[in-house]
Symmetry: C2
Subunit: 348 residues, 2 copies
Amino acid sequence: MAIARGYAATDASKPLTPFTFDRREPRDDDVVIDIKYCGVCHSDIHQARNEWGNSTFPMVPGHEIVGIVRAVGSRVTRFKLGDRVGVGCFVDSCTTCASRDLDLEQYLPGLVPTYNGFESDGQTPTQGGYSDHIVVKEGYVLSIPENLPLNAAAPLLCAGITLYSPLRHWKAGPGKKVAIVGMGGLGHMGVKFAHAMGAEVTVLSQSLSKKEDGLKLGADHYYATNDPETFTALAGRFDLIICTVAAEIDWNAYLTLLKVDGDFVLVGIPENPVPVHAFSLVPARRSISGSMIGSIKETQEMLDFCGEHGIVSEIETIGIDEINGAFERVIKSDVRYRFVIDMASIKA
Amino acid sequence: MAIARGYAATDASKPLTPFTFDRREPRDDDVVIDIKYCGVCHSDIHQARNEWGNSTFPMVPGHEIVGIVRAVGSRVTRFKLGDRVGVGCFVDSCTTCASRDLDLEQYLPGLVPTYNGFESDGQTPTQGGYSDHIVVKEGYVLSIPENLPLNAAAPLLCAGITLYSPLRHWKAGPGKKVAIVGMGGLGHMGVKFAHAMGAEVTVLSQSLSKKEDGLKLGADHYYATNDPETFTALAGRFDLIICTVAAEIDWNAYLTLLKVDGDFVLVGIPENPVPVHAFSLVPARRSISGSMIGSIKETQEMLDFCGEHGIVSEIETIGIDEINGAFERVIKSDVRYRFVIDMASIKA
């Protein structure tokens, strides 16, 4: 065992506080990673506060992890000391059934989340990236391209793949009109990816306050959804809408912005059911779908794509002692566009 | 002008009564059809009673029309006197935009419905198939294969294509597990088509009362949805679920029956919004979609498929003076499985 230092939620109502815990001795297929940076995802807050009702405590959040390989097990072949690596939302999965072959392991019941879950032994709690190191099976470790700064690459591991995967699956590319709903940690990655894939990109944001950023990051158009004219002007416009917001919005109004055969894809999890009227779907063969992160294979593909296109997240770097204030600012959407914790700030 | 005899709703609260009206003189691209049979669709009732709020009166319903060509205009090339033909849910459409080239004209705003609409002049009301003849542009007339009985072929023009199109679009076929929700006028056609396409077919019906019919028509499995065990037994089972019912059902329970990447397709129009929880979609990349009839090209393809496979609807034939009683029985789902009006019953 090795002692890890991090920050944990000890119950749903308390702020995160310094916490030490054990990491397992590396097995022969494990990689030991010195964590350099960890992104702050809204789902860290949902889970630290037990807003999804499935939390176990104490909980060290964090699944946008980047760092440097400190040690490798004897059977590890793809990584060596000093490599720049990342870990995303899961650290193990079912390896037996057909969906694994399809590289869709993120949708399988055997998934082991990076934190707030249990190892495949069903007993050992997993702990995340708000900590100084982590021990992960080689098959769940990603390579970070050399040209990407480590801190700004961290959010690619969740925010990045969450947008990249549906954009690929629903074929964003040249000739396609893609809208990104929400210009936050997820949304701004969607703008960068959809633009790099060659699609015509429109941001649908509550107001125009981030318009300048949106256009700079690659959007061709930027509309305020608090202006009813937007829904008239854009009726039937889009092949694909990726919705990154979990707030209560007028879903059926957004569905009317889709062309025939258009897809509306949820990547956020609205708390209440989405009331979809059949008349919003049937007369234009539209679909509403959901998508969740990506497979390990697709996450590596995304990171390589980021390397080729020089894509990283827009970030604000914080010390780990600032995490509770950062949570409050994330809730208020007061971050441009993702907090990343510099793990050098963990006190010895 | 020629006088047509039919049955019409004169307002939303009255039963259908005998009605005479004018049909236009055939233009050079028109086909004049002696109507032999017309199917009774649930949407006839919705519209005759103005349940969708868009009805104009007097209204002659009926869009599952089959008959024999009585006359053709000078430029008509594909039909001649005596041909067996059909007319479905629309009799004209926008011919200029891109979607027409994609054979998706059923989803375009320029669609002219067979009844309860206006010709492309925007003024002349269209009147449907509960009548002795109809005059239709050649491009919207379908050929009925010689081996199909005319009366049982009538429901193919709406009920048939409504199921055929989504089964084709979402690729029902060998190796695919398809569920049909509802064993009525639409559902029983879905069973026949999905079976003929080579899929493994399951009927999800409220009770087992029509199980024997379902298995006879091609279902491999038949489950009662009033048994909660059904939802446990079939969790994650299906690639595709086609939902033909418009009643309030537990939508999210049905969504859990889909595999990863599965599609749930609405072909009925539930009155209230469908409350879809993001957790029913996101963790398995599922979709909920809608589909509406099919293009003229696809409708002919469907009819040819029916000819090859000997597929027609299961029907009860009625005289037109029985139509109001038939409406009541359709509402009670008391028909196996589609009423078809024999137009020989129209009094001269």
